[in-house]
């Protein structure tokens, strides 16, 4: 096949052969003899990501609504975002894994949640802050309580930005969940870690393709979903 001719010398025919063999073997997808296939790992990946995203939203959105009420809230939000940018998530995962929690899904979910909070927090905070003061004043004038203003005026108007935050968090969680395979959480990254550990590059490259395609695909899918949200709720979301 001519494709192998354009690759560097170390990527020899046998790597290419391993790759195509991995791709065309049924057990790589469905699993066999105790080894997990793509299907099983995909479900695991989806479970870890969905769980992390749900926890992140459950923490991040209420936290942002509280911080909006506080004078120093903005400072807290930017500090959290800056801190998260300079802390290596791989290091935190490895740290949690040799700590009292041990390896597995728990340290992975904890690390994923910590690092996914900033995008949701920043966007929800900005979304609520940007609601026109006159609008909220009108709502108060109509006799709404503080909680009613939040639930029926501020949050609905902030939806486009909240959606941006959730999208960014979801894409980041999906991509980073791959790394979690290093600490034994399973998921699609396991194809890469197991393949690398056993020097079976067919599986490594199969894993790379599956991981990259699913990540880029999820990003495109969520961007389309976000455009739909924007059409439905009007306002223009700020890209971060």
């Amino acid at each position: 096949m001519s494709v192998s001719a354009v690759l560097p010398a170390h990527v020899n025919n046998s790597t290419w052969h391993q790759f195509t063999t991995w791709f065309t073997t049924k057990s790589s997808w469905l699993g066999a003899d105790g080894a997990s296939g793509v299907l099983h790992l995909f479900v695991q990946h989806l479970w870890i990501s969905a769980l992390s995203l749900a926890i992140t939203c459950a923490i991040g959105i209420p936290l942002a609504t509280l911080l909006v009420r506080w004078r120093r809230g903005g400072l807290v939000v930017t500090s959290v975002a800056n801190a998260a940018r300079s802390i290596p998530i791989v290091g935190v995962m490895l740290l949690l894994a040799i700590g009292p929690i041990g390896i597995g899904t728990e340290p992975a979910v904890i690390a994923l949640v910590i690092f996914a909070i900033p995008p949701i927090l920043t966007n929800t905070y900005t979304g609520i802050r940007e609601v026109d003061a006159e609008t909220t004043r009108a709502a108060v004038g109509m006799g709404m309580t503080r909680f009613q203003v939040l639930r029926r005026v501020e949050l609905p108007l902030a939806i486009p930005l909240i959606a941006t935050g959730v999208r960014l968090a979801a894409v980041q969680i999906w991509a980073t969940a791959t790394i979690a395979a290093i600490i034994g959480s399973g998921g699609l990254g396991q194809l890469i870690t197991v393949g690398y550990a056993t020097q079976y590059y067919g599986e490594v490259y199969g894993g790379v393709v599956v991981v990259a395609v699913s990540a880029v695909g999820l990003d495109a899918l969520l961007q389309a979903a976000q455009r739909a949200v924007r059409r439905r709720y009007g306002a223009v979301a700020v890209q971060t």
């Binding site: 170390h10 300079s86 791989v90 490895l94 991509a175 290093i182 890469i192 990259a212």
Partner: protein, 228 residues
Amino acid sequence: MRLPGGFTFHKQGDPWLSWHYITANSSAILSATQAHVTLTIESVLLGLAFAIPMAALARQRPWLRSLVLNLCTAVYAIPSLAFIVALIKVFELNSLTVIIPLASYSLVILVRNILTGLDEVDSEAVAAARGMGMSNARIFAQVRLPMALPTIIAGVRLAVVSTIELVVIGGYVGQGGYGAKIFEGFSARSHTELTTYLLLTVLLALVADALLLTLQRLLTPWRRGLAA
């Protein structure tokens, strides 16, 4: 407790932090710092080398602009573990295995900031320069680029800080300065080693951020006194 395979789960004298560890391993820390800084600088420079022409290209046509920006976003979505391990077979122990992915990730920040910086250049200043008889190339080098510099350096700052953090994953393939030590600490179940190098990574990011902020102020003296 000692387990088969050389794994030790609980070791005596392995605190989460130890000043003694830092003084006893100062030369190892120094060489890891050097490796980490080198990888970061090489990655961001390679990123810049691609980002500037990409931004210049993107400014030509609206469709090129969205193509370039979407391409950068798509590349950024590729998980780092996949990108690095994919290159290990090609470049083996060459540091390009780590540099190429990190440079690719920096594009999403660099291209966007260079574009924003160039877009924000005052068109009257450009018109004045043209009136003085400057060529397009001179206008780019002496008017557009200096005026876009604050935004570009702001992008470089963001790229450097996030690259310092991303270099750590290189430790998985035995590279990555502090990353190599962090992975070593993980395999050896050494709390002290892992936390020390983890904190050093954060410290390095903070120091780099402060240094680049100073550089930004020095390179743009006309903006001193204006809000940052």
